[in-house]
């Protein structure tokens, strides 16, 4: 097989994953939330338990008018949803699905690449917030920037702990080095990474920047139609990315109870969906954190905990 064809297949596979996984997670969210709240959720679209609800939503979004506010900075306003989506697409390129190079683009410093690219998301939020020419959008954007900057720190520190334990920055390398007892050793790091990951993608209970009961819809207030759908898609890809990163870094990626070589991709996907389920579950269970509680959690709990975890990791690593 020529190398360009292989590359094309790999990229197409990632695009396919990019388009289907968020839809599956979104549909799961509809149904899981509904059942947790004693409702049925979507039941009509597609006849069988509303499986086509998100497809119908997509068609609805395409049909809606694409409004750009008169006072808005049009160029920036239109660019923002794309800037929001692109980083996650890039991240999906380097996440290993299984052993033996079952990854779109293996990178030696995959972890570092992922962390830096996820950080670009905040630029899109600021772009959307400012260019909307709307005070709610601006307030939401400022909250988002403060939140993302703060939570970036424990996010990176927790990831650094695993990288230190594995002795490599390659995502495949980390899964190779992973041992079941790391579940215990790296447990605080996993919690920190997961919680700050939730904050990074602004999911409830960390959805203060969106806070629909006080800020309309935060930095997305002025967006309609397809551009709004892009932001929503970015949120669900974000869930997949955070779940996949938690899986790869802390839950052993493709390592399963048996047949890692053949069924590795299945173990990865199962873990990704399990973590995604927890993310949905948290949305239903916890009230939104107030802005000061949110910052307090980050700076007074997560950052010191992450630093302590780094010390523990280093100590165990040296003693080994």
């Amino acid at each position: 097989m020529p190398s360009w064809l292989e590359l094309l297949i790999r990229v197409l596979a990632v695009v396919a994953a990019f388009l289907t996984l968020p839809l599956i997670v979104g549909q799961t969210e509809h149904k899981v939330m509904a059942h947790m709240q004693g409702r049925l959720g979507p039941m009509y679209a597609g006849a069988f338990h509303g499986w086509a609800q998100l497809v119908a939503d997509g068609i609805k979004f395409v049909q809606k008018e694409d409004v750009t506010p008169r006072e808005a900075d049009r160029t920036v306003f239109r660019l923002a949803p794309i800037v929001a989506l692109l980083p996650y697409l890039l991240v999906l390129l380097v996440i290993p699905l299984g052993p033996h190079g079952l990854v779109a683009q293996p990178l030696d410093i995959g972890l570092f690449f992922v962390l830096s690219v996820v950080g670009i998301g905040v630029v899109s939020v600021l772009m959307a917030a400012w260019s909307s020419a709307n005070k709610y959008a601006l307030l939401g954007g400022l909250r988002a920037a403060a939140q993302l900057l703060g939570y970036e720190l424990p996010f990176v520190l927790a990831a650094a702990s695993v990288a230190m334990a594995a002795g490599t920055l390659s995502l495949s390398g980390i899964v190779h080095a992973w041992q079941p007892w790391w579940l215990l050793w790296q447990f605080p790091a996993m919690l920190i990474f997961f919680v700050s990951g939730l904050a990074e993608i602004r999911r409830p209970p960390f959805d203060m920047p969106i806070a629909e009961s006080e800020l309309v819809f935060g930095y997305m207030t002025e967006y309609t139609g397809l551009r709004f759908a892009f932001f929503l898609l970015a949120e669900y890809v974000g869930i997949v990315v955070i779940a996949a990163l938690t899986t790869v870094l802390f839950l052993g990626g493709w390592r399963g109870p048996f047949a890692d070589d053949q069924l590795g991709w299945l173990w990865t996907l199962m873990k990704v969906f399990a973590v995604s389920f927890v993310i949905i579950w948290l949305r239903v269970s916890y009230p939104r954190l107030r802005e000061d509680q949110l910052q307090r959690l980050c700076w007074l709990v997560l950052v010191p905990l992450a630093l302590a975890q780094l010390l523990v990791t280093a100590a165990v690593k040296l003693a080994w």
């Binding site: 006072e71 808005a72 900075d73 920036v76 990178l107 030696d108 410093i109 570092f112 690449f113 962390l115 830096s116 690219v117 950080g119 670009i120 905040v122 630029v123 600021l126 772009m127 917030a129 400012w130 260019s131 020419a133 601006l138 954007g141 400022l142 920037a145 403060a146 993302l148 900057l149 970036e152 990176v156 920055l169």
Partner: protein, 177 residues
């Protein structure tokens, strides 16, 4: 000596970085200046990437695009960030041109004169392992001194942002007196 794709890529990224940099200082839209800075720094990261310094490139993205520019935009939006042009920006145009252009041309002349058309082979290892080894073996002292500088900046920021730290004594003294 022919022109290779790498050269074209380097020249293109350099042009983007330079153009975006000029726009940062010449645009009258304050926030857009910050966004052009994102483009300029991103193109610089691209330059590092082409020179196969992957780690430095992604550090550039993580720190400058993801944090420094965001802080900058954040501060601008907190104070004054009108949409559209701000006609009342007072920028010392000629002094800026003199200092910025002079430094740019001077550095360019110096580097061009130093290297001419000689080709420097890329060092064999520019990965995370090699850079880590270099930083913590050869350059460990500057590295640690730099961290002291950052610590000093951090303490300074805390003192500045909390007026109650230094003023507490005089306040109570005045109340007692």
């Amino acid at each position: 000596m022919g022109i290779e794709p790498v050269d074209v890529l380097l020249a293109g990224l350099g042009a983007i970085a330079l153009g975006a940099g000029v726009l940062v200082v010449s645009t009258r839209h304050i926030v857009r200046a910050g966004l052009w800075l994102v483009v300029a720094l991103g193109a610089t990261a691209g330059l590092y990437l082409v020179l196969s310094a992957e780690l430095v490139a992604w550090v550039q993205v993580l720190l400058y695009v993801g944090a420094v520019v965001v802080l900058l935009l954040f501060a601008v939006m907190l104070t004054r960030a009108p949409i559209g042009a701000s006609p009342d920006l007072d920028r010392p145009r000629w002094a800026g041109l003199l200092v910025g252009g002079g430094a740019g041309v001077g550095l360019a002349a110096l580097l061009i004169d130093a290297y001419r058309w000689s080709r420097v082979p890329l060092p064999p290892g520019t990965g995370a392992t090699e850079i880590g080894t270099e930083v913590f073996r050869t350059w460990v002292l500057p590295f640690e001194v730099l961290s002291v500088l950052l610590l000093a900046a951090l303490i300074g920021a805390i003192v500045l942002s909390r007026p109650d730290i230094g003023a507490a004594d005089t306040e109570t003294g005045r109340r007692e007196g």
